[in-house]
Every structure is written in C-alpha cells, then in structure tokens.
Symmetry: C3
Subunit: 204 residues, 3 copies
C-alpha cells in the first residue's frame, strides 16, 4: 500500500519532469534525465543526509517508473498537456505524500522533529528544484508565491507531531499527506500567496 | 566558544542568502530556502564527502539561525542593505572561520592535508555557490576575480600545516581563520584580482 | 593500469572544464573549480550514492590532475583550442572509460545491474552536467542530441552483462569502454541524433 502510493507520487513528478523537457524542446535523453531527477532527486537528497543508501537504488520500480512516464510524454504529450489541471492535482498529491513519507523516514532514523521536517520538505520539493536548475530556470518554488513549500511544511510538521504522540503507521502518514494536499489545492484555487519582503514589489 | 563562532558565520552567510532573495524579488519562502542553503550548504557538502551525518542536522541552532536572519531581512532589509559594507566584513569573517573549521574537521577524520584543504575551501565557498546557482546566476566565486576563494585556500593550508606540527584546539583554528579574514579584507580594499588566462580580456 | 586509464579520463574531462572557464572569461580560480568539478563530479556523485568515501578524496593524483590541466589551459589555451577535435576524441575515451568503471564499481558493491548502469552513466556524465550548470548553461547532455548519454548507457549495459556472466577484470572493463567510445565517435562522425518528442520541432 505504502509502496504503491510512493510509486504514484514518483510517476506524477516524473510526468512534470518529462513535460518540462518537451517545453524546453530537449531530446528524449534530456526528457528521461529530467524525469528521473524530478521524481527521485528529493528522496536521494534525503537519504544522502540520513547517510543511508538511497531508496531509489534499492528498488527497480523507482528507476523504471520515470521511464514509463517519459515514454507516455514522448508519444502523447499534447494529450498530457490537455490534462495538465489533473496533473497539478496529482502533483499536489505527490507533494503531500512525499513530505509525510520523508518526515516519517527521518524520524525513524532518530532525527529530532525540526530536522525531520526539514528533510520531509526536502523530499517533497528537492526533485522539482533540481528539475528547474537543470532546465536553466530559477526554481519555481522560490518565486511562484503559490504556497508550494508551505503545505509541505504543514504536512511535515503534522506528521512529526503525530509521531511524537506515538501515532504511527501508513494511516497516520496518509492523514498528514491529505492535509498538505488539501492545503495545496486550496492555495491554487484561491490564489493564496506567500508575502514578499516589506516594500518589495511583485515581479509582474 | 567554537560553537558560537560557528553560529556567527552561519548567521552572516544566511543574511547574504536572504538579501539575494530580496534582490531577486523572491517571496519569503524563497528567501528562507536561499538563506538556509547559503548558510548550511558548504558544511553539508563537506559532511557528505566525509560520509558522516551533516552537522546541520544534529543541532537546532544551525537550522534556526537562518530563520532569524530571514525574519530580520524580511522586515528591515533596507537597513540591512545600508550596513552591507559591514556585512561584507562579517562575510569575510565567516569565510575565514569556515575554511579553518572545515579543514580541521576533515583532518580529524583522517584525510591527508591536501584533501582536507579542498574540503575546507568547499565548506567556506560551497553555500555561496549553491545560493548563486539557485538564484539563476553564475557563481560569483568563478568570475569576480576578487580573491574570494584564494584567502580560503590560504587559511585552509595554514590550518593543515599547524595540524601537521601538532598544533590543535580552537586558538589554532582562530589563527588560521584570522589570516584568511585579513587576506580577504586586504583583497577587497586594494582590489587584488585573480588573473585571467593568457590573452583573455576582462568581461567589462 | 586501471589507475592510469582513470587519470587519463580525469585529465581530459579536466581540460574541457578549464576550457569552458576560458570561454566564459572566468579567472584562474573559476577555471580550476570548473576543471576539478568536471573531472571529479561524476565519480563523487556515484560514491555518495554508494555511501562510500569518494575516491577523489583518497588519492592525491585525482585532485592534482585537474590542477595540471588548468595550468596547461591557462598558458596555452589557444593551442588547446586548436587540438579540440583531438580532445573530443579523448573526451569520448573518458566517457567510455568512466561509464564502464562506474558500472563495475557499483556492481562490486552489490547493486543490481539496472541500478549499476544508472550509476555508471552518472559517473560518465555527472561531471559535465555540473560543469554546465556552474557555467550558467543548460547541460549540453540534455539537448545536444548527439548521443552523448546513449553510448554511455550501452557501455554500462555491456559491462553489466559481462559481470553477470562472471567476466571480470580490467580487460572486460576496457572492452565495454571501447564499445561506448566507438559508438560515441560514430555518432559524432555520422551526426546520429536522439529523437525529439513527437511533433516537437528542433530548436535551430
């Protein structure tokens, strides 16, 4: 169950990576590289900090899922672009899931709650940051003001609190993931935005 | 004492990260991410290479100091910009301290002096490089020609030499840090520059 | 023998890094940083994922070879540029060697063949990707369509197959490296290209 949810998150993040490759008119190799790094980058960074072998290199499904996503985008990307609103919803689901799973893994390895939350957020947003850097853009996360990182922070914090009161298991993780997911969806729908520093005008 | 000096270095580097966020008109999340990565990135890279859990994830102060720096820059950045010359001096102090501390830690873990110096310089300049990449700029270090990396190399080499003659402890580290600091200040004041390859004209 | 081949690969990659520094009119520090990271970045990434201390920090030759390459490019870069076609051939040799050596090392550490191939390719192309990101460019690998990554994938796969049938030792590694090398040379000569996603027009 937990593995399946993980693969869904990886698949959705991989789609956004391959689509970025199409938008930048990269070839199929570029698409695959972006897809793999978007999907697996956050988790690999988390595992490097935890000083454990990255999960992406322990299971074949983790590496093969982005291959599937790249193939789909390669042949059917106009259709994929049409369902982009649906993908944004799935991406929000991936964000929620990855922040909850990442925080839980860090807590299991004995990190204190604050550090575990930082790693949880890193799991959720690290792949997207690497994708944007590779594509030659400033990471969306830093300026889009649409509360991408904030829901991940809330989900991570909630998962850490539940862990501290000894609530564990995948239902707990799913609960924290759901809160982050709903918050992200609400932020997109209602245009909630993170503030700029005092006196700074928006870019547009 | 050593911990306090470390936090001062982190605080100053964090200020430069958050200020870069203001200059790029990023939101508060972008400011915080740049601040954390500028302050902690170099040390995390060093610890990953040393194959030990990153110090930034062992102590709460390391993660919280950039939060404080971001809050200060968020509300008072015009004032912070006014004291930028003072911050450049503090940044030089951070540079000196981080190269000395990084080299010492690497030597303690049994690396030979040359490798320890490389890691010391990486500790000092790694965060700034990551900050510039995330902000979509070529790392200042690579082209500013104002001897940013060279003082760090000298400080690291000095710390390694002192270690080889069995001089240890924080006084020794502070001595190496001070030499790097003074060299960096002198380079800024006198406009010392690193040479371009033979026959290459400056960019300006 | 294996060590010598390794140093040749590092030297050639280091040349391409230092030359990128000249093209971007960076100072000697920037040239050195690009040179070291181009030459050693891929192997360091591989070793971080394998959770072992990076080989680059175990041997002095690994760190010093890029210093030599930087000195040569610093004084004689117009001559180096003239022999660029020869360097492209040597770069293909480095590519072949690094993908075979990287895959073999990963297999030795017990990774399954697919993961070992991913790490082998990462060893071969990681340094170049980091070089391009630091220089402010989209990694050539992602868009040049000249089959840079594909020969590395083939070489890595071949090395993994040979390992599975219990063929080991440096002759086997050299065989896989040679196949990748010849494939890369053929791709350059004949202009073989990776396809773009369906319906996407080339950039030029």
């Amino acid at each position: 169950m937990s593995e399946l949810l993980d693969l869904v998150g990886i698949f959705v993040f991989a789609l956004t990576g391959a689509l970025m490759g199409v938008r930048k008119r990269l070839d199929v190799v570029g698409m695959l590289v972006l897809s793999e790094i978007t999907a697996l980058g956050g988790g690999v960074l988390r595992d490097l900090v935890l000083n454990v072998p990255p999960a992406a290199f322990q299971s074949l499904g983790y590496i093969l899922t982005p291959v599937l996503a790249t193939v789909i985008v390669f042949f059917w990307h106009p259709h994929v672009t049409k369902v982009l609103p649906a993908i944004m919803v799935l991406d929000a689901a991936g964000l929620g899931l990855f922040c909850a799973v990442g925080t839980e893994k860090a807590l299991t390895y004995g990190l204190n709650p604050l550090h575990a939350c930082v790693l949880g957020v890193m799991t959720a947003v690290g792949g997207g940051i690497l994708r944007d850097i590779l594509a030659g853009e400033i990471p969306t996360l830093l300026y889009d003001r649409q509360l991408y990182a904030v829901p991940a922070m809330v989900g991570a914090a909630l998962r850490a609190v539940l862990f501290e009161v000894h609530l564990q298991g995948w239902v707990t993780t799913l609960a924290a993931a759901t809160v982050a997911f709903l918050l992200r969806i609400a932020a997109m729908r209602r245009g909630w935005r993170a503030p700029l520093a005092k006196g700074v005008r928006p870019q547009d």
